[in-house]
Symmetry: C2
Subunit: 456 residues, 2 copies
């Protein structure tokens, strides 16, 4: 987990001396010091009139989560980076649990390798390249089949005992889309988790394929956004078997057919049938945002690039490969796209930038005397239990709790605690908003802490 | 902290049934399943005869920590990536504690921005660029002054209340070195932490400069590698004041002069004097590997790119900037360079890939009956206390403990526990090696656990 610490001094030397905090913890992020450039009227320069805009693109820009730097290229602002790090950890945890190991390749790959596999020609103008001062050409890698197969081919003594080998990275990729659109949903520079596997036989590779598919199911179930899995086309990546993972959405650019009775589905690219191949039931059409793709590759790359291992019998055999992608930055946007309203972001609980937002009363208000309760709740949650390091404190004294609540809801924090009117009653009560359930309750501080720590 | 989980099933379905582990934890990395391509005779293709090679480059390659992909570009293998993640967290913790916030820019920056600041011409052939399908030119960013100043300039309503703004990233950068050399010490694609600050006045900017300098001191003290801080040249980055952080090393490419009596020092580029400017004592010469650089920039970028804020009096003022780099991948290699012997890697305790390595007895040996003790020690350390998630278990049954100890020392794990001959005595004793202190002790399992959990 990614922890942010803010400067305690900032809290302690707050100009409103009566707003000082008594809790000597050093790890609570305050909204007053957060870099979240909220921009409810987007710049014309960024989003042109008439251009079709995705809801997620509009919301993530307006709420200061990500910001366009160039067409199809985005800066992750602090809140976006936190979400992204949570998503990265969710994916890495499942990959590691499935016996995969993380590494990281350079962004640039020698064009020579891409020429050897033929993909320099077959990929088309989406493949961007550059040339160094010695006139050597490099690809701005959209994937790393060539790079990893070359690495494995360079191992002097790879034997069957070391297989399967499952290596992945989570890093920036590049694809020069002719018309980048919908923000992070179809960017040019994007973050992908790409896993490559090496096996002894095609049967073993199929077994690995199945086990990685199970890990993918866990990633998407863990994320909590509805998804479907369909048969996909192998396309320019190649191979003999391929599945796609989609978030169903009207903005999706893939046409899918799904059985109305069983789990079977296909991308219409490969099988546009009206009846299910498995059970014969009618197929229904949906649109999907592709968020994951798995390929059983066979020897397409290992053969050309000479990735071999010593078999049990002592012969030199060619590795059987698989490759597996997850669109990390795309998932971030697609989750927001699927879950949000037109005006308020909704995150899966697992990847919200902060899980809990505690809203302090306005300076000079009747409730200001309850400020110590706000500090207590925020620090208690941020330092102990389920939400440690995952709390943000809206300390701004110039704004009403109503205004701050509206902003917290637009940003989409899943749990919001408001220190409002009843916080100064004889039995002080606080509001707890369950943003994703569109529910709220009133409770004492102790009950709110218990309630939140019981979640999940 | 970065946690790796390996597949418990792997441990449980180990072919040697008597080597099964009784501890149902899911997070212990085993050497048998680790991707660490040890390669004591480096490929001729990678390191040419006669080429000058840094010790760190040779060791990191031989021990399967990093691997060259192209000239000046390196793949972080699993152990290297773990070290890198620890270093990243060490730096991020100090940056966050100093009130800085992390974000992440794209690798590519529009060349238009670099043309506006003039750096497209002044940077020279080290600046690599590429052109997209619409003939728009992008820089493979070596730093992000232009990108961040453009971001701040685009904020519609930045006011004095939001300053200072301190924004940083830890990401891949590119510099097309004419002769990349010494591995990660002078690579072309490298990882840098780059911080940019925005202040109201030059006095405020100087105050920010001093506070970031203090954070830098904490980073380098926390790392534990001897360092010096000297006055540096502002060069192509610009500005009025600059300091450099160096690891003294004979392989360093910077010539430094340091006062023999006080802390004062300079890079000879800017002041090649024989007597100290502060106290008049004689200066001595050293060589350094530059690992950090701070610049008080003033308005060089904010003026051209129009990064303004509304002042207290309502006027529109130009932001006063600073920029601050730390060479993350360079520190990884430079630490190894400074601390290692010719044949064995030594890491700062803080960034070793794993802190503790537990070595299990060989299969079929007299000590094999102590295997459960090895499991106990490894799982106990990996699941509770100081080294949680930071333990690697050398479970390989075909190798002697002597062979495994040699490899663990070469890889440089700071604490190595050997389950050796005395582990089957009536009072079982184990060896604890303090690699960085070149010391060892014998103790019971309980004493070893207590000893290790008391560290730091």
């Amino acid at each position: 987990m990614y922890h942010v610490r803010t400067n305690l001094r900032k809290l302690l030397i707050n100009k409103d001396n009566n707003r000082q905090c008594a809790y000597p913890f050093n790890s609570l992020t305050t909204v007053s010091s957060l870099f979240q450039p909220i921009n409810l009227a987007p710049k014309n320069a960024e989003i042109k009139r008439g251009e079709s805009i995705a809801k997620s693109q509009k919301l993530l820009n307006e709420m200061g989560i990500v910001r366009q730097a160039s067409p199809g290229m985005y800066t992750m602002l602090p809140l976006g980076l936190r979400s992204f790090d949570k998503l990265k950890n969710l994916i890495a945890t499942e990959m590691n649990a499935a016996g995969c190991q993380q590494l990281c390749f350079p962004f640039l790959t020698s064009a020579d390798l891409w020429k050897r596999t033929g993909r320099m020609e077959t990929t088309g103008p989406e493949l961007m390249s550059c040339t160094d001062r010695h006139n050597r050409q490099y690809v701005l890698s959209p994937t790393h089949e060539e790079a990893i197969t070359d690495l494995v081919a360079s191992l002097p003594s790879l034997t069957y005992r070391q297989l399967p080998l499952k290596l992945y990275q989570i890093s920036s990729k590049f694809r020069d889309e002719i018309k980048p659109r919908f923000g992070l949903l179809r960017g040019r520079e994007f973050i992908m988790k790409d896993l490559y596997t090496f096996d002894r036989t095609i049967e073993d590779a199929k077994e690995t394929y199945d086990s990685v598919s199970q890990a993918y199911d866990k990633v998407f179930k863990g994320l909590g956004v509805p998804f479907v899995k369909v048969l996909g086309a192998t396309g320019n990546i190649g191979g003999t078997l391929s599945h796609e993972y989609h978030f169903p959405s009207s903005i999706g650019e893939d046409e899918l057919k799904q059985c109305s009775a069983c789990d079977y589905g296909t991308n219409v690219e490969i099988s546009d049938k009206d009846a299910c191949d498995l059970c014969g039931s009618p197929m229904k059409e949906t649109k999907g945002i592709e968020v994951g793709h798995t390929f059983l590759l066979g020897t397409k790359y290992s053969n050309i690039l000479n990735a071999k291992f010593m078999s049990k019998s002592g012969s030199s055999d060619t590795c059987q490969m698989g490759c597996y992608g997850i669109g990390v930055s795309r998932i971030l946007a697609a989750s927001v796209e699927v879950l949000s309203s037109e005006t308020e972001i909704r995150w899966p609980d697992t990847i919200a930038p902060y899980s809990v937002c505690v809203i302090a009363p306005k300076g000079g208000s009747k409730e200001e005397s309850a400020l110590p309760s706000a500090h207590y709740l925020a620090h208690q949650l941020n330092n102990v239990g389920r939400f440690t390091g995952d709390v943000i404190f809206d300390d701004r004294s110039s704004l009403t709790v109503g205004k701050k609540l509206m902003e917290a809801k637009r940003t989409g924090y899943p749990y919001i605690i408001v220190v409002g009117k009843k916080s100064v009653h004889d039995l002080p009560m606080f509001e707890l908003h369950y943003t994703n359930q569109n529910m709220k309750m009133e409770a004492t501080a102790t009950d709110i802490l218990n309630q939140l720590n019981r979640i999940k």
